[in-house]
Amino acid sequence: MSNAAHPAATRDVPDGPLADGGTDTSAPLVTVTGLSVRVPGGPVLLPPTSLTVHAAQITALTGVSGSGKTTLLRALLGHLPAGAAIASGTLDVLGHDIPALAPEALRQLRRTRLAYVGQDPGSALNPRMRVRQLIAETATDPSERAVLGLLREVRLPTDDGLPDRRPTAISGGQQRRVALARALARTPEILLLDEPTAGLDPALRDEIAQLLRHLATTRGLAIVMACHDPELVATCADRVVRLSAPARARVPAPRTASPTGIPDKAVGIAARSVSVVFPHRGGAQHALDAVDFTAPPGSATGIVGPSGSGKTTLLRVLVGLHRADSGTLTLDGQPLAGTARGRGRAHHRRIQLVPQNPLDALNPSRTVSAALARPLRLHGGLARDRVPERIAELLEQVELPADFARRYPAELSGGQRQRVSIARALATEPDFLLCDEITSALDPDTATGVMELLQRLRTERHMAIALVSHEPHLVAAYTDTVHLLDAGRLTAHGPTATLLPEGGALHG
């Protein structure tokens, strides 16, 4: 605990797979030596990795998408994906040899000393329990006072009725903190976090970073987090373990962006005065309120706004998955049907959406190749024997090895799934690509790679992009115009350079 007082001192430990807290005097809580995980006779999930974790330190696991961050966390927890097994190395957590631990002892360990918060903590909260019960359930001290204390500790208000709400009635950021409080309630010694800030806007991200720092310091907690957000790593990690990815496809050389000028307004996809109202019991919610949107061919348009401002809804209206309550859609000046069913084949091909949630964007029971082959056959009219070749090409474009074609989505990491989903949208060679938070699960390098790819297609094929993102620097770097949304209203739109100077914070 001696180092708890001066965490900044150990902050800049050099990166590397064998990074070791050599300056610590206390015994490490976790010792991982040469651990590797693979499916017997199958792919490698985690290349040999070593790691030690000490009390009161935050250890960040970074590395490109698919490098095994999630796998390592799950190994520490003793919960590997079905079929995978430890291939080599040792794993010691709190003095226990995790792989050899009896189920009951493992359960006790998780119950009292080891806590894990997954990548999507909102869905991990029982929707039928109240916040208060959720925290008391795992707490060593389930008293009212202690529960409220925990809520305050994670900076949640306790006097506006939040403790009596259910998880579905609180926002995503609040869910994340409730999950954290639930993990802390058992006073663990080690806290494992997977992507604690993915998909959150910058304000929330900073808040969580502060909180983690605070917890490590005051509680002497050892935190291990998988993270691809360099800013978060920079603000709060004591040490960084960089996982090296298994052999992967060539990274395409970055190309210089060559944004075209804003072309003629008459062509491209456009929405005029679109409104969407969601009926709710006892009232209605205006998800979109007379919003105008235009994306000319070859353009790159950013859509930016706080969580719940209607960004996703706008894209869904454009692609025809949600019929707008009022307003008109046009494509190249011609009216565009309000629903996908009402549209012709050509429209289907030309407008493609990459949906927000990478988890359910792919059919779990169909292989990557099946997912990619269908649009190729349906819209490309490709001969059967040409399909595998084209699939390999698409995978390569999103930096995935060609042999991933045979995998099922469950055998991919979060970022890999998102890239397959992008590849599927690209398969029809669309003229308009609507991207909903497509980089939220990707590490910076991969994200840049993907954005570069889109940029290239823009210039080569004159494809237009609409980009919804919480990452201001991406919007700033890759779009020419931007639409700002707030609570369903279009508050501003214009050149990115003027509306988003140097990619600064937009909201919050």
Binding site: P355, L362, N363, S421
Partner: protein, 285 residues
């Protein structure tokens, strides 16, 4: 570190051992079905000729004793499965098929969904036994077909609900929306996007429907609807021979055991065909 060879990838996903285990679970069902099919050729006596005293205890010539007319229980047992298995399989297949079709379309098409829901709501109020009585009486001489019809009509609404219930969460999944946006037709989405994820549900449903069909058909037999004497039918045998159970228990016990064995083996088979991953159970690690 060496990259995995591509050949080992597929082998790793479905180890030969698992396939063998799955096969082993399907085998009892297959054997039973096979036995029911070739049973008539193994039978020592014709099904309608008395060979011993009515309800004679097991003994020479009749290894399982005689039935209510002194016919050989063993021979009748060997003959009696074909029709029951056939009808139950037919009912289970048709109900599962209908339910899968209607259930998938119902979640993709709200109007149809509401119609299906309402019909199910009404039919669920009708006790199955009363339903069989009405349908079978409305179609006298329908015999086995009337019972099959009744079982299908009565079983489908509930089955549709099960499929629709399982499919509903999938209907809004990203991949279904992606398919819609891609311009896929409803049948394609139902067949290629929803169905593969419902395999476990559908197979479990088939198993359950089969058992339910056996139940309904035997129930109909008990109510004197359906197969007619001198047909050798397991359900009919149970009913006909029940009065003599104290004289020759085998006449009742043997067909009962046959029905139970049939139900178990079919369920076993359908459960083992279901994909393991889709049906996760509460595991401790």
């Amino acid at each position: 570190m060496s990259a995995p060879t591509s050949t080992s990838l597929t082998a790793g996903r479905r180890p030969g051992g698992a396939r063998y285990r799955a096969l082993r679970r399907v085998v009892p069902g297959l054997i039973l079905v096979l036995l029911a099919l070739i049973g008539p050729y193994l039978a020592a006596h014709p099904i309608d000729t008395p060979v011993t005293a009515p309800f004679a205890a097991a003994g020479d010539g009749a290894p399982l004793g005689g039935d209510q007319l002194g016919r050989d229980v063993m021979s009748r047992l060997l003959h009696g499965g074909t029709a029951l298995i056939g009808s139950a399989l037919l009912v289970a297949a048709v109900v599962t098929l209908l339910a899968t079709l209607l259930g998938c379309f119902a979640v993709l098409h709200p109007t149809l969904g509401r119609a299906v829901e309402r019909t199910a709501d009404v039919l669920i109020l009708l006790p199955p036994v009363l339903g069989i009585m009405l349908i079978a009486l409305a179609w006298p001489g329908g015999g086995r077909w009337a019972v099959i019809g009744a079982a299908i009509v009565l079983g489908t609404p509930y089955a549709v609900r099960i499929v629709a219930g399982a499919a509903a969460p999938l209907a809004n999944a990203g991949y279904v929306e992606a398919a819609t946006a891609r311009g896929e037709s409803l049948p394609y989405i139902a067949a290629r996007e929803l169905l593969p994820n419902l395999r476990a549900t559908v197979l479990a449903l088939f198993g359950l429907r089969f058992v339910e069909a056996v139940y309904i058909i035997s129930m109909a037999g008990f109510l004197q609807i359906g197969p007619q004497p001198p047909a050798a039918d397991w359900a009919l045998m149970i009913r006909e021979n029940a009065p003599g159970i104290l004289l020759n228990p085998w006449a009742v016990v043997a067909p009962s055991l046959a029905i139970a064995a049939l139900a178990i083996s079919v369920n076993l088979a359908s459960a083992s065909l279901a994909p393991r991953s889709a049906r996760k159970a509460v595991t401790t690690s």
